[in-house]
Subunit: 207 residues, 2 copies
């Protein structure tokens, strides 16, 4: 058992990478085995329930990594705006380096399997909730109420998720960084509504 245990993580890592780049259905078990460098038998040993259980493990792993990354950034960034900008820069860098293939490690497989695969969907729900909570904690530290922090954390998470789709289509890091920038501005300098824009203009004129 101990000798074989070393193959479990490489299988999960390969699944995260391949599901992220090409999706769940397009990735065959043989491809997973080969990409992980594991012997064929280890796949059936660790995942006796087959491919869907690999999807569950991959979403869990991807979610853990996203939260870890966000927590590391949150510890370094003074505000939620700074955190969003730093996260966007990191995501954009990964996307660019991978030829715009390394989008969100969870979204494609979740869209393919949820809601019908309840286990995968639940793993995704937990991952998104944990991810949003890192942002919500930072927003509360910025001074937002608990309710506002939750709503804004969901908005920020959804907007960055969407921007990763656009970045793939446009082969550009701009959608990610621009989305984070607009959010950071909305959170820090205040409203972009026309009334406030006029106030800002008046402020500049009278200055």
């Amino acid at each position: 058992m101990a000798g074989k245990a070393r193959h479990k993580q490489p299988i999960i890592d390969a699944a995260v990478r391949l599901f992220r780049q090409q999706g769940y259905a397009a990735t065959g078990l043989a491809e997973l085995v080969e990409a992980s460098g594991s012997p064929k038998g280890s796949m059936y040993h660790y995942f006796p329930e087959g491919k869907p259980s690999i999807a569950t493990a991959a979403v869990e792993e991807a979610g853990r990594r996203v939260v870890e990354t966000l927590e590391e950034l949150a510890a370094k960034c003074p505000t939620t705006g700074a955190l969003l900008r730093a996260h966007a820069a990191l995501l954009a860098g990964w996307m660019e380096k991978s030829g715009f293939r390394d989008g969100c490690p969870m979204t494609t497989v979740l869209l393919e399997l949820a809601p019908d695969n309840v286990t995968v969907a639940e793993e995704g729900r937990k991952a998104f909730a944990a991810r949003q909570e890192v942002l919500a904690a930072k927003l509360r530290a910025d001074g937002f109420s608990a309710g506002e922090a939750d709503r804004l954390a969901m908005l920020c998470t959804n907007a960055l998720q969407g921007s990763l789709v656009l970045a793939r289509i446009e082969r550009s890091r701009e959608p990610i960084e621009q989305t984070a920038e607009v959010l950071a501005q909305l959170l820090t300098i205040g409203s972009l509504s026309p009334g406030n824009a006029q106030s800002r203009d008046r402020g500049r004129e009278s200055a």
Copy 2:
């Protein structure tokens, strides 16, 4: 030719529906033929370049429908905030009715095939640009500058896209409607930043 032409649209419609619910790779040609009610030969007649060319046609069709829906709503809604709320209510209704299977008709196939399939990615880019332009026009009508309108339209589109993923995972319409609500509030009542929240509180106290 005329006799066969009636089968092209049903194939595209079936592709939009199946790619949206289960993704591109999981949908076989035989399933597409059966779902469209078309004779097997019509598939090869209209799409001689095979399955990837059906993906291109499906993304084009889905993009056309999204823009048509948004334009109809934009004509009825007085502001961008009202438009976002109306669009979210419609999307949430479709999601609920389909058991949270009918998410975005483009995202799954785009994530599976972009950026490597350049044709599909380009069709997706055009669809998202057209969709954002409907919102940007409404934002300009609200009084935003062209630059602000473009940036906010991208934010709103990305955020709603992301909320559709969360709605599938959570089997809930709430992520869609809450995301639209937060965006509508940011666009209309002004900033949710702590400073402004305090101003709003002071305003209420002195009222």
